[in-house]
């Protein structure tokens, strides 16, 4: 699960996430105003963002004030376009952040993975989010939350992607299972002297290399799935909304899993009738 998101989130990232959110919120405010003002422009497929709040907190923010009845259509259009660019940039930055995380070299021996057991069990697949779970999350959110402009468009986009991602997941599952089931034939360790000696790990052996390759493939599929769905969703503000909620869900899940680990950090079992001596 994304390390950068937990613990110390860089302030800049938090601002950006807020900004996307503000853009989204002001998007609806802007729509309302336009509707109240009899603006007949079709809201679907357009990013109409109230520039005042969209730019607040950004270094580019200058001296825009709130809407005024006298603001001309041209100026409004210009502001909308600028806000669209801001939203586009923010989405790209978010994607870049996921890209750099999901394309970093994979090392199965690393201990610094901050994802918690409950996170991995609940949505995990080869160490991080299951790609099809990301897609199912988006469809579910689009259906139940009122914050998405084009739920039908989202569903259309996702249904095609789910089929593809599911096949690719199954292929990677098969590759991993093959390694796990045949590692006994070419063990990732060697016994010193004869097989009664002490085993020593083959850290650069072919089995571990294969594991690394499969994990890297899984990372690529994760990013590809996220990137594709964000780019293909018909409405850009829906993409931004999804990235925002996805981030929040990841943080909430991480908090919950951390708390769960504190409460249930040990595994116990009843030894009754098993003939196992009590713990020393």
């Amino acid at each position: 699960m994304k390390k950068a998101q937990y613990g110390s989130i860089p302030e800049q990232r938090r601002c950006q996430a807020n900004l996307i959110n503000q853009s989204r919120q002001s998007f609806s405010v802007s729509l309302m105003r336009r509707e109240e003002g009899g603006d007949s422009e079709d809201s679907k497929g357009r990013i109409g963002v109230d520039q005042g709040s969209a730019f607040s907190g950004s270094s580019q923010c200058t001296s825009f004030e709130s809407h005024d009845a006298s603001v001309t259509r041209d100026v409004q259009e210009k502001h909308f376009l600028r806000a669209t660019c801001v939203l586009e940039d923010l989405i790209e930055e978010e994607l870049d952040r996921y890209r750099s995380y999901y394309t970093r070299p994979v090392d199965p021996a690393r201990h610094d993975d901050l994802s918690k057991p409950l996170q991995l069990a609940s949505v995990g697949w080869l160490g991080d989010w299951r790609p099809t779970a990301m897609l199912t999350l988006l469809t579910g959110l689009a259906q139940s939350s009122g914050s998405f402009c084009d739920p039908a468009g989202i569903e259309r986009t996702v249904s095609g992607l789910v089929r593809e991602a599911r096949i690719e997941e199954a292929v990677i599952d098969g590759e991993l299972a093959e390694i796990q089931a045949t590692c006994v034939l070419n063990p990732p360790f060697a016994f010193a002297g004869n097989h009664h000696g002490r085993p020593s790990p083959r850290r650069n052996g072919p089995e571990l290399q294969k594991i690394k390759q499969v994990m890297a493939k899984a990372q690529q599929l994760r990013f590809k799935t996220l990137e594709t769905v964000v780019r293909k969703v018909p409405n850009m503000s829906d993409a931004a909304e999804f990235l925002t909620v996805f981030e929040r869900i990841q943080q909430a899940l991480h908090r919950f899993a951390t708390d769960h680990e504190l409460r249930h950090g040990e595994v116990s079992f009843s030894t009754k009738g098993l003939g196992i001596l009590d713990s020393t």
Partner: protein, 260 residues
């Protein structure tokens, strides 16, 4: 009925899995495996001895899977059992749903049967001893020739076991995936618009409780597969074959645990 998770940590008859796993491994490494190996190679050891050591080692694996099953009965413990922190990260990457892949057992048996199990590692023929009359000790001969003289019914039996695994394993993975999808679905359906921490934790908690119940069942089912596959293999082989199979399996488990 009270949940087992609330009872187990406080009952005197309960035990921490981490320390159990450590002792289990120690016992395998220092006691059971050396005894089995001695019994396989020592000319003086009787067939009864060999048979007793085979039973002891099989029992060791069976007890382990029974303990895993009991631990998995508590949904709160399922996340840790699926990615056990008492096993190192390198070892964990070779594990399937928290332990050895069920196919690993049949693959190991096949490799022994086909005689390509790591070259001469499992080859015992070169160590044959003769008694004072120059006769080969019967048990040793049987052990050395175990795979060459294996019963004709063994291969069909392996195929039968593998067919069972082929049917069961994809279904188990499918159930795990479906449980995750339901979890995500619940999360999306109940995700609070106001993003309050407490409301979010409540939604996650409810969805996770249901998911962990199902993942616990999946875990127990895959344990049963591991447990039954080992038992079926030992049941289908001669005592000599079973001894060599369990010896190779025990060594593999110890080797894997030494990865980290």
């Amino acid at each position: 009925m009270p949940k087992s998770s609330t009872l187990f940590p406080f009952k005197k008859t309960s035990r921490r899995f981490k320390s159990y796993h450590r002792d289990w491994l120690e016992s395998l490494r220092n006691r059971l495996l050396p005894r089995l190996c001695r019994s396989i190679s020592a000319p003086t050891a009787s067939l009864d001895d060999l048979s007793a050591h085979v039973s002891a080692l099989l029992g060791h694996f069976q007890t382990y899977y029974a303990a895993l099953d009991r631990a998995a009965a508590s949904p709160d413990q399922v996340p840790l059992l699926l990615d056990p922190p008492w096993r190192g990260p390198l070892e964990r990457s070779f594990l399937f749903l928290g332990d050895l892949h069920p196919y690993l057992f049949t693959n190991l048996l096949r490799s022994l049967l086909d005689g390509d199990g790591s070259g001469d590692e499992y080859e015992l023929g070169c160590n044959l001893d003769f008694n004072k009359d120059g006769q080969l000790v019967e048990k040793q001969w049987q052990t050395a020739m175990a795979w060459r003289n294996s019963s004709e019914s063994l291969r069909p039996r392996i195929e039968e076991i593998e067919r069972g695994l082929r049917l069961m394993l994809p279904a188990l993975l499918g159930r795990m995936r479906a449980a995750q999808m339901r979890f995500v679905g619940h999360l999306a359906a109940g995700w609070p618009e106001d993003c309050g921490d407490e409301a979010a934790a409540a939604v996650i908690g409810e969805a996770a409780a249901e998911e962990m119940e199902e993942l616990g069942r999946v875990l127990r089912d895959v344990n049963r597969l591991r447990h039954s596959t080992i038992s079926e293999i030992v049941g289908a082989t001669t005592v000599y074959e079973a001894a060599l199979f369990l010896q190779a399996l025990g060594e593999f488990v110890i080797g894997l645990a030494s990865l980290d």
